[in-house]
Amino acid sequence: MDLFINALVSGLLIGSFYAAVSLGIAIAFGMLDVVNIAHPGFVILGSYLAYILNTRLGIDPILVGLAMLPVFFLLGQALYQVFYLSFERRGRDPLRGLAFFFGLLFVAEVLLILVFGVDYRYVEAGYIGPTWKLGFVDLPLRLLVPCVMSLVLIGALQLFLSRTFVGRAIMAVSQDEQALRLMAVDPIRIKRIAFGISIATAALAGAFLIIIQPVEPSVGREYIGRIFAICVLGGMGSLPGMVVAAVLLGVVESLTSTFYGPSWAPAVAFGFLLATLAWRPAGLMGR
């Protein structure tokens, strides 16, 4: 029973972190219809930046993540501009857009291998070692801190999307681009900002990732299935749905690896995704 509850708790914690990683996909894929399968690549990039600045200068990884937000935001805007000019403007050609992002993911991974090799890298911070104990329940700070920060990030973004003009425009662009144009808002500009935000979240998610586990360049691949499973299961663009789906996946994965061994855990996420796509493509909360 202790084991079960501990697995449940660590699933909840890790699930919230999965939500932070999926955030970028929920915006790019769920709202903008840009199938950015390179997103995990940017997350890993964020992890490595946190690693460099942490080992060289001793800066806290989460601070690095926060400092990188504007950089990643600009990077995302530039990327969207390239994507828009080469694919979206010429009419929808999903095949080539997909291949483009797949190439990006691959290039990012190979570049990281060339620079850092395939060794696992990790960061140092005061909250990585200790564990809080509540009765028989273990709360490792290594998981708790990213979990809390993830929920803060998602909450802030949800507020931004529902309260500010730009946020509402982003929600609107996912529903009806033409209507937005009639309101004298440039949908391309709004999409560029939204995509910038989507990539910016990867900077923080990357910092969380390297706090939770050591990182090597190909770790990102495991996350492709997870984040798309979460995004689809959560009903595409909905952030609350995404959090529910992420926590659900985290719990199922954690229970699987506790009771059947960690080597089965990756299959859970992907099995989840296949099952969702086959039987419930509208997601848990979809109509």
């Binding site: 999903p94 483009f100 797949f102 290039v107 190979v110 492709i224 299935g225 296949l274």
Partner: protein, 331 residues
């Protein structure tokens, strides 16, 4: 040119090439040639679904690995004392016929898995199918890693038949088999283009809703394409254990197969059978040279950059560039 004369010409070219490589007497050339041929099969197979129908498959490595692991499984049944009746049956097959048999079985298994996955996801938008293929690769890798009979994560050795008489030795035999397979796949892809089926595929690619409305059975055609494409990729993987001698999940499911089988048709051009062939020959030969002279990681980086570059700047690939050039010259 009719299909049979195409096969005859291609076989003649392959025969001359094989003779030349055996004549040089360097076994490495046959090894390298085998890899290029394998990529021709993979790229052409990918293009049947990706280029003709417009559905992107990121799981080429998975289908390739299904083929490779079918061989390993059958090999282990035959050699490890399972005591099954079938083991004696497999051992009775002459060495020269074993491999073609394995290729057929691997092709059927991969086609079946392709069909199953297509049935689950092809009713959705194309993007979901692509994501599901990524998922398939990881699920299968996990299954194989946990399946001890085929070696699990430790990997499994496959020993080539000894005393094998063929020009160029067993490697020469592997080369010849893969060349035959490549010609077969190219002939099928070429015949598809001008067939009723091929026109249906093109309809799906250009406008699926319009195709459906004009009476094209889209789901059925997509399933046929997925099964064909997956089956051929599995066939390409079947001789792999004999080629490499040692199979383990991380390398067999490696991203480089997925990237190459997308990059080659994209760089060559996706609308005709010539594109994947051109792309596979150019990129395949380049990689063989680059692996030896530069480094294997760097050459993957170049493939990735080429893929991005062609997708952005020359969406119709080398064939498209060539046709544009010819159109400009003769107005």
């Amino acid at each position: 040119m009719r299909t049979w004369s195409f096969v005859a010409v291609a076989a003649a070219i392959a025969g001359i090439l094989f003779g030349a490589l055996v004549g040089v007497g360097n076994e490495y050339l046959l090894f390298a040639g085998y890899t290029v041929l394998q990529f021709i099969v993979l790229a052409t197979a990918w293009n049947i679904l990706g280029g003709y129908c417009g559905y992107v498959n990121f799981g080429s490595a998975a289908f390739f690995a299904i083929g490779a692991y079918s061989t390993v499984a059958i090999y282990n049944v035959a050699t490890e004392k399972t005591g099954w009746m079938i083991a004696t049956l497999i051992n009775a097959v002459p060495a020269g016929l074993l491999l073609p048999g394995l290729i057929v079985i691997s092709g059927l298994v991969s086609a079946l898995i392709g069909l199953l996955m297509g049935y689950l996801t092809l009713r959705l938008r194309g993007v979901f199918f692509s994501i599901a293929t990524l998922a398939l690769a990881v699920v299968l890798q996990t299954l194989v890693t946990n399946w001890d009979f085929v070696g699990g994560s430790r990997g499994s050795y496959v020993i080539r038949p000894v005393d094998f008489v063929f020009p160029g030795g067993y490697v020469g035999y592997l080369f010849a088999v893969m060349a035959a397979l490549a010609i077969g796949v190219l002939a099928v892809a070429r015949a598809l283009e001008r067939s009723r089926l091929g026109f249906g595929f093109a309809g799906i690619r250009d406008d699926e809703a319009a195709a459906e409305a004009s009476g094209v059975p889209t789901l059925k055609l997509k399933l046929i394409a997925t099964a064909l494409s997956g089956g051929f990729m599995g066939m390409a993987g079947a001789p792999f254990p004999f080629y490499i001698g040692f199979v383990e999940p991380a390398a067999t499911f490696g991203l480089s197969y997925a990237v190459n089988s997308i990059a080659m048709p994209m760089i060559g051009g996706t609308t005709t059978w010539v594109g994947p062939l051109v792309g596979a020959v150019l990129l395949g030969v380049f990689q063989q040279v680059a692996t030896v002279t530069i480094s294997s990681v760097l050459n993957l980086l170049i493939v990735g950059l080429l893929l991005i570059g062609f997708v952005v700047l020359a969406p119709n690939g080398i064939v498209g560039l060539f046709e544009a050039w010819r159109a400009r010259r003769s107005p």
